[in-house]
Symmetry: C2
Subunit: 338 residues, 2 copies
DNA sequence: ATGAAAGCGCTAACAC
DNA sequence: GTGTTAGCGCTTTCAT
């Protein structure tokens, strides 16, 4: 277990100069003679010197780490957003430490504590589906810990956030169904505490109105975002006296659950039931039939989130909400045969 | 930007004792009087003291960080393995820093450099599909940097590794097809440099032999693991004078590509063509028809990998290979109607 | 039983 | 132009 990294001290000793001279030479301090600078830089390059981030962190009280907490790690949506965050973090010389709340409030709190203990400089959070109470987030605000949220957000007047234009997306879906000839359009939402639930619901309602369709409470279902609960919600819709002829779900997993339930009931998509989801490109094309869906600009969402984070990190605690446009990609699942 | 964390110094000042006394009291040093110990611990708890990991790292020359490099972050397989690694890392007070090679050799090298610069204590790597040359990994060995690999491994006589029993899995698939009545079984493999390609190929061949089926080179196709290249490979198989009646692909994405190409060609699964893949539970059930597939014990693979990592970290550089069993889950895609 | 001091790697204010 | 020193938070040896 030989000594793994060369330090300024090592270089200084070898060159018979002081540590500060080496330090200065490396950062092109004007006081240093050309000759020494060259000598130092050459040796540093040769020995593969790189400053010890721990020492720097200790000195500057900055770890250059950002903590990210997502509801889960196995959903493309989050992975892709994380990639976006990473891409700009890396540019700034930061790296990210990722934690998953597994959709549990307790785990979310625990992760916050862990990350703070690891001395991240701030947090980027997407709430778990259980997060009805935001006390733990308010505490972060009080402690003046940089915090930015995305997708499932809250307290947006105090916390910077990046979200998709969810209301608009839902409206687009309703309008799309309408244009394809579907008339009884159902929606399977998620837990009420989530901002995405509220926003997408709002868009659904204005969408119906815009098309001149009546609002029927029976066509509004809720699930807890799991595949199984989505299936169950769909089954309830199918058992209505007058079932819907189209349905859309709040996210990928839910959309797949809906499709499963519909097929299991022996109905055909898109003939008997049109389906639209909020999913990523890849999985929409993999399912059968290919799923018409609203795709989020996930990578860009991640980048924007990181940008807001750095803004917050370097300047005062003002909050800003960035809303990104979604795209409705038409595929077979909503192509009602005439 | 108030001072965010209390230090030993803060506690010491408030209690009018020395820093060392506080330090000792907190770790139950026998020399400390019961009275002082209690006093210190109470205040520490009250002030929510937690040792600064940067200072500890600097002192102990240990960051308690593990670097992980995976080919991509948006595949369930890797996410799940990462979760497994994290679960045991966390237990040991370590945390993981994740980097993606995006299947590129250059990015893999770059990530290694980045992570080392961030002073991870060691690396856990799954090779990119481009990694034909292992020099950069051998350099890690030479530098005595703890390294463990999983799934796509190499140099297993020097590097500890966790893999699935890939040969066995392929054999099971062939035997399964055979038992269902399929006789011309094709295989779409991945790049030759990957261990999983070789192992799964070997199993395919012994599997055919075990069933008394002839080996037909025309039924062996290769792709670069993308959805598109898998489709292309399947199309080549479909254009054979005598096309296969069953096919399996080396991973999820490939399996989905195969299905897509088969359906696009107007063939029915499982009637005209049986399909089996290596995928996770969730996506296998989402596609249509549900895909018979070999599932990896991904979470467990991650845990085992982490265990090997810590073994390597604490003791000498001996290498060990752990092979985990896979499970063939039968679904509709290989249920040939009689 | 407790305190002082050195040192982990680095920077910056202060000598000279 | 270069060296010395203090200090970031912590542990540990050596004094007392």
């Amino acid at each position: 277990m030989s000594k793994r990294h060369v330090s300024l001290k090592d270089l200084a000793r070898e060159l018979n100069v002081s540590i500060s001279t080496v330090s200065r030479a490396l950062k092109d301090h004007p006081d240093i003679s050309e000759e020494v600078r060259k000598k130092v830089k050459r040796l540093a390059a040769e020995r593969n010197y790189s400053p010890n981030p721990l020492a720097m962190g200790l000195l500057k009280q900055a770890t250059r780490m950002i903590g990210i907490i997502v509801p889960d790690l196995v959903t493309h949506f989050y992975s892709s957003i994380i990639s976006g965050i990473e891409s700009v973090a890396k540019e700034k010389g930061y790296f990210v430490v990722i934690a998953s709340s597994n959709e549990k409030l307790e785990k979310e709190k625990e992760s916050i504590a862990n990350l703070l203990q690891a001395r991240v400089e701030g947090l980027i959070i997407c709430m778990s589906r259980e997060t009805t109470n935001t006390e733990h987030l308010e505490q972060l605000l009080k402690a003046d810990i940089p915090l930015v949220m995305f997708d499932r957000v809250c307290l947006t007047n105090q916390i910077s956030a990046v979200i998709a234009d969810n209301a608009d997306a839902s409206q687009k879906i309703v309008a799309h169904f309408y244009s394809k000839g579907y008339r009884r359009i159902a929606y399977v939402s998620g837990p009420d505490n989530l901002s995405i639930s509220k926003e997408r619901m709002a868009g659904y309602l204005t969408g119906l109105e815009a098309c001149g369709l009546p609002i029927d409470a029976a066509l509004i279902e809720t699930c807890d975002l799991t595949f199984e609960s989505a299936q169950a919600a769909m089954n309830r819709l199918l058992q209505l006296p007058i079932p819907p002829d189209a349905v859309f779900g709040i996210n990928d997993t839910v959309a797949f659950g809906l499709m499963k339930a519909i097929k299991t009931a022996g109905l055909r998509i898109p003939h008997d039931m049109g389906v639209v989801g909020f999913t990523d490109e890849f999985h929409s094309t993999v399912v059968d039939p290919p799923l018409t869906s609203v795709t989020h600009p996930t990578f860009e969402m991640g980048q924007k989130t990181a940008e807001l984070f750095f803004k917050r990190l370097h300047s005062a605690a003002l909050s800003e909400t960035v809303i990104l446009e979604t795209k409705l990609v038409e595929r077979e699942s909503s192509e009602k045969p005439q």
